[in-house]
Amino acid sequence: MAIIEAHGIRKSYGSLLALHDVDLTVGEGEILALIGPSGSGKSTLLRVLDLIEPADEGRLSVFGIEVASERGSWLDLRRRMGMLFQRPIVFNASVYDNVAMGLRYRRASGEEIDRRVKEALEAVGLSRYIKSRATDLSGGEQQRVALSRVLVTDPEILFLDEPTANLDPTSTATIEEIVMRLNREAGMTVLISTHDLAQGQRLAHRVGVMIEGTIAQTGASSDVFRAPKDRRIARFVGVQNIIPGRVVSRTEGLTTVEAGGRQILSATPPPADEVEIVIRGEDVSLHRREPMHEEAENLFPAMVTRIEPAAPFVNVTISCGCDLVALVTARRGDALGLREGMGVWISLQAKAVHLIPLTGH
């Protein structure tokens, strides 16, 4: 069941268009990650969905309620959701008072507040700080206070706006773990925005890529990473090789594309005649001599033109008519004895070669 449904959401600040044509459906109990570069509208979208700011245009329903016609019930709807922000924001009061805020706004009784605040702090492992001033804690601890402040109100939907962008790996792991557990055990729906691709992949059931104010692609994270819909998405998800080419033929489920005088086989049906070939660097394998038992469909000799260390990997640029970047582990690079000007063989599975229509960029 869809808990959030948005169609054609548009939002601008003066002359700045922050969101346009946003369509998004989030199922109950789902974790959806919004990934995208800074300034692509992720935070604005979360604020719109959390009913902090109204959209200029578009239809939005939350919990099956069309929000545009129910302005009077926004506060009630908002009280069924919670949001954690990028910067840890705590108020200059005790940790207890910080966590109690949401319950006090809901006019809960003193005993209930007491019980639930203690539970919430227990859950984030901060019980010992209950009487401390929240502003005296470290950044990671403050963010955990902020998280328990949200969780104490039992939100059905939790919005996380780059919640770990400023945190160290340990605090990040703690927060991720809590969120995952709540999703698993309490079935909480989670929308997390992040520019950390790995985090999106780790947490989310489904990923939405936001580019320039709209959701450009949604799908399983593996789809988005391996089969980006267009060039901007491919760039954002870290594809090293985007090469223009022309479709030559299509046989037995394989598309032959010519690029730089070399024919490359792809498992993607041709989206157009003029295409761009999208290949992730880690899918390109290097060999010192022609491999004997290689199952990959593409196999050809090439020459190493550049080697760039990117610990713990090495970016190897190879020339085989067109330039390709291969990502190999530093150890494998050593084993191959890579050096510039050296001849190598590369193998590449047809499945790893993704095709997108050529655009004007």
Partner: protein, 303 residues
């Protein structure tokens, strides 16, 4: 004092000498320390002399009146203790406080809206209107208030029908003070609200606070200091008003009117004593109010 300075210099020299500095540099540092007391930056000295002219006028004026008044303490005491003077001071302070209370009640929401509104022509227009009393000569301000609130004025007529008279009455004094003091309060309050990040309100709202609750529990507490200093500024402006007030309310006498009246009738002697009394009382009150600011506001909340 001189001894103390020497000790400090010596201490500094000692601290420095324990640092692992090459011998030559150490000598330089020591000499620099010796010179420091004598070194003069002529630019700053010039600025100080020019600035002293401004401060000097105030100091001289107050010294002048203090010397003359303290020469005849009996007369000063007689004037200061007269019920006319005490009553007038209380009236002025009270009317000023009423004006400020009205400003807090009505000016705070205005300041909040101005602080949160996106820049627009309407916002600019409202801001200019708020500033109008600031740029008008006080007599003009007084005349404006008089014309609006006099018995036949647009607002004065209907209000006098329900028994609220402004001409030569306390409400007239208050409304004139309110008019001239409003920009001071509204602008200061608006600045305070602008300094509270919208983000903090958003946090409160995501936690289930409505707009008013977020304002009341987050924004307002964080702006208390600005509210306080704005209120003091406005109050000071209100009780100092003369031209704005006399147009509509010559009576009852506020202190400015009383001093002017006694200056023109009894002469310099009495009016000077009243003025000196007012100086003492005002200083005392403002000093106390300023002292109290340090206990206000949770500034470190700002993220």
């Amino acid at each position: 004092m001189h001894n103390q300075y020497n000790t400090i210099t010596k201490m500094k020299t000692e601290t420095l000498s324990t640092e692992p500095l090459p011998a030559g540099e150490e000598a330089n540092v020591t000499r620099w320390n010796e010179y420091r007391g004598r070194y003069l930056d002529w630019c700053i000295v010039g600025f100080c002399i020019m600035g002293a002219a401004i401060v000097g006028i105030t100091v001289l004026a107050i010294a002048n009146i203090t010397m003359t008044e303290l020469a005849d303490p009996a007369h000063l005491l007689k004037v200061a203790a007269s019920s006319e003077v005490i009553g007038s001071i209380l009236l002025t302070f009270g009317a000023g406080a009423s004006a400020v209370l009205l400003l807090i009640l009505f000016g705070t929401p205005l300041a909040y809206v101005l602080a949160r509104a996106r820049p627009s022509r309407l916002k600019g227009a409202v801001e200019s209107i708020v500033d109008i009393p600031l740029i008008l000569p006080h007599t003009v301000a007084g005349l404006l208030v008089y014309l609006l609130f006099m018995r036949r004025g647009w607002l004065g007529a209907p209000l006098s029908e329900i028994g609220l008279a402004f001409e030569d009455a306390l409400p007239g004094t208050i409304v004139a003070m309110l008019f001239v003091a409003s920009p001071f309060y509204v602008n200061s309050m608006r600045e305070g609200f602008e300094k509270v990040p919208v983000h903090l309100e958003n946090v409160a709202r995501t936690l289930g606070a409505g707009t008013f609750t977020a304002f009341w529990t987050v924004t307002l507490p964080l702006s208390l200091r600005h509210m306080y200093s704005g209120a003091i500024l406005a109050w000071g402006r209100a009780i100092g008003e003369f031209a704005g007030v006399i147009m509509i309310a010559y009576y009852p006498f506020i202190v400015s009117t009383l001093i002017y009246y006694s200056f023109t009738t009894d002469g310099i002697h009495t009016s000077r004593s009243i003025a000196f009394t007012v100086i003492l009382v005002s200083f005392g009150v403002f000093y106390l109010l300023r002292r109290m600011t340090r206990y206000l506001g949770r500034y470190d909340d700002r993220v």
